[in-house]
Symmetry: C2
Subunit: 207 residues, 2 copies
């Protein structure tokens, strides 16, 4: 009620959703508050009620924004997956699938180089918290599904042939390398660049 706003200080115009925008900003604030609490006291020692209270939301409503507690942390991975898939599709057609996958992952290595200590904290929490690690693998699987069609195209394989495991194998193995690299990156406190670790990991498979 505070903003009756007949003077245009808050233009409530936009067919594509005023409500949607509110929802987005609330989501963003939840993520921000939750992330702060998580880094302060750890993921497990932070309850959903605490987050809801801090944001000024009821517990029930919070669960309408995020289906699970883990989703508050892993929501961003959804978007990353799309970006990687896009980057892969944008690679030149004559590039080998494995090399194209490696290059597509630069979307992530660049993100981490842009804000290393933040990325380090984030990955550390991901790897140290069992429930988060578990959900993280689920997201990884959804990434795999996003990448497979493009890998199949590059291999000249007709889409949707589940008995040909090659595209899935390439995508899954590449993601496995990404995981190994990320783990190593956290283990060495980021001293060795993620891109280097990823290069080593992925080149190890081509001998």
């Amino acid at each position: 009620m505070s903003e009756t706003a007949r003077t245009a200080d808050k233009p409530p115009r936009k067919p594509p959703g005023l409500r949607e925008r509110m929802r987005a900003t609330v989501r963003a604030e939840v993520v921000e508050v939750a992330h702060r609490l998580f880094t302060e006291q750890g993921f497990d020692r932070t309850t959903v009620d605490q987050i809801a209270a801090e944001v000024g939301l009821s517990r029930a409503s919070l669960f309408r924004y995020f289906g699970t507690k883990e989703d508050i942390v892993l929501g961003r991975l959804e978007e990353s997956g799309r970006q990687i898939a896009e980057a892969l599709a944008a690679r030149p057609d004559d590039e080998q699938p494995w090399e194209a996958l490696r290059r597509a992952f630069d979307v992530l290595t660049r993100m981490n180089e842009a804000a290393p200590e933040q990325a380090l904290r984030y990955l550390r929490m991901l790897q140290e918290t069992p429930s988060l690690r578990a959900r993280h693998y689920e997201k990884q699987l959804s990434w795999q599904e996003l990448l497979v069609p493009e890998v199949a195209r590059r291999l000249g394989i007709s889409p949707d042939r589940p008995e040909d495991t090659r595209p899935s194998a390439l995508a899954a193995a590449a993601l496995a390398c990404l995981d190994v690299a990320a783990t190593g990156w956290v283990a060495c406190e980021g001293t060795v660049p993620l891109a280097v670790l990823l290069d080593r990991a992925m080149s190890a498979l081509r001998e």
Copy 2:
């Protein structure tokens, strides 16, 4: 003094534990009952109270045998991991790591060939139940840790050099292929042998 052995109706032979054996048999019965209930009504629709009641155990005691509900299903994977690691160590030294890994996995392909429909049911449940799938990845990670030292040895890399991601990459990628193969095997209802799918997947990475 375990040799009391009055009348041999219940031979209490073995210093290494009569108690241990009881524990083992109880565990086995829990697994059996739970597995039956799970396949009958699904994993999520079966409560631990139900399992406990059926076995004739208190809820609290059940959790002393299995830390989590998922462990009742995934307990056997612990053992499988060890077997794979053993098989890998038993491969000839001059074999390439990737090939050795492939052969080590035959421990599993043979198990599945021995009891296909049972394996199929088991894997289907694993893949259809989100919480099980998540925990399954955790076990996969523990497999990886079991395999890495042997892979490192075959690569001539001094053990415990976390900055060299190659052994982990090979192990993780191989396990990723195994997962892809298992998924495909379930998808085609076991019509194509797991070993074949695994061959295709793993050979795709060496071009």
